[in-house]
């Protein structure tokens, strides 16, 4: 797959670094790169589909919330950007998504009851629930020096 304009990619065996502008038009490229690596290291297609959705939710949240135009963030002078580092370690796929937008108190966030939201046919609020359901670990950190980092981990289970 050709690298789109304004995207920086560094690929080595079992590891990818991607930097894209903070724009939704790059989401499909990000999904393709991550799912290609997940397949290469042996995840079955059903798990690849879950990883794809979790990464897409994470990056979409960055665009929608961290870089929301109405919010103030520490690095307002910089152009919005998404930085991903994807690698394998000890039978796990580790995806770190970094941005320099508005931080978020992830630990205190309690997603609404999903069954209830679905019954009410609510339109939003599913993203973090999906990440937690589809990944084995979801961690978030935020500080003034390095920005916000969401770490998603999926174990490659041996059958």
């Amino acid at each position: 797959m050709n690298t789109p304009k304004h995207v920086r990619v560094n690929k080595t065996t079992g590891k990818i670094k991607i930097e894209t502008p903070g724009d939704g038009s790059y989401l499909a490229y990000i999904r393709t790169m991550v799912t290609d690596l997940a397949r290469q290291i042996g995840f079955p297609e059903a798990e690849v589909a879950k990883i794809e959705m979790a990464v897409d939710e994470a990056c979409s949240n960055v665009l929608e919330h961290a870089y929301a135009p109405h919010k103030e963030w520490h690095w307002q002078h910089r152009e919005p950007e998404i930085r991903l580092e994807v690698h394998t370690e000890d039978g796990r796929l580790v995806i770190e998504i970094n941005d320099h937008g508005q931080g978020f108190d992830f630990a205190k966030y309690q997603p609404a009851d999903i069954e209830n939201r679905l019954q009410q046919m609510a339109q939003g609020g599913y993203g973090i629930f999906i990440m937690r359901k589809f990944m084995d670990e979801v961690q978030y950190s935020s500080n003034d020096q390095t920005g916000n980092t969401l770490r998603l981990v999926k174990y490659l289970k041996k059958s």
């Binding site: 989401l27 499909a28 897409d56 999903i114 609020g125």
Partner: protein
């Protein structure tokens, strides 16, 4: 990776909308605009043919639920047709198939509006 596009036709007083490519937060506003326009014209019976859909994210699914809810209030619905197995498994796991009707036959999807 196919570019997202939408084809619309009318069958038996139902809007049959064929989706190709990926439905994510970037592409969804195009479908949202098309569904809003249909609703404004009074067309609340919609079938989305997903045979060539590669991906659907929660923003798209959530918004489709919103459209289905609105359509039901007007006596119609927004239903899914020919959902690829890979996508079906995901939306079933998340519970979206409990609130969105999914069909595997165009005939049955169209007739489901009259029964």
């Amino acid at each position: 990776m196919k570019d997202f596009h939408i084809e619309q036709q009318t069958r038996d007083n139902v809007q049959l909308v064929k989706l190709t490519g990926s439905l994510d937060m970037y592409s969804f506003p195009r479908l949202e605009g098309q569904l809003s326009a249909m609703f404004q014209q009074g067309h609340h019976r919609v079938v989305l043919d997903c045979r060539d859909l590669d991906y659907i994210g929660s923003a798209g699914l959530g918004a489709l639920i919103g459209f289905a809810k609105e359509a039901r209030e007007k006596g119609g619905d927004v239903k899914l047709l020919n959902v690829p197995e890979r996508i079906y498994k995901i939306i079933e796991l998340l519970g979206f198939t409990k609130v969105l009707q999914v069909h595997d036959s165009e005939d049955r999807a169209l007739k489901s509006f009259t029964t």
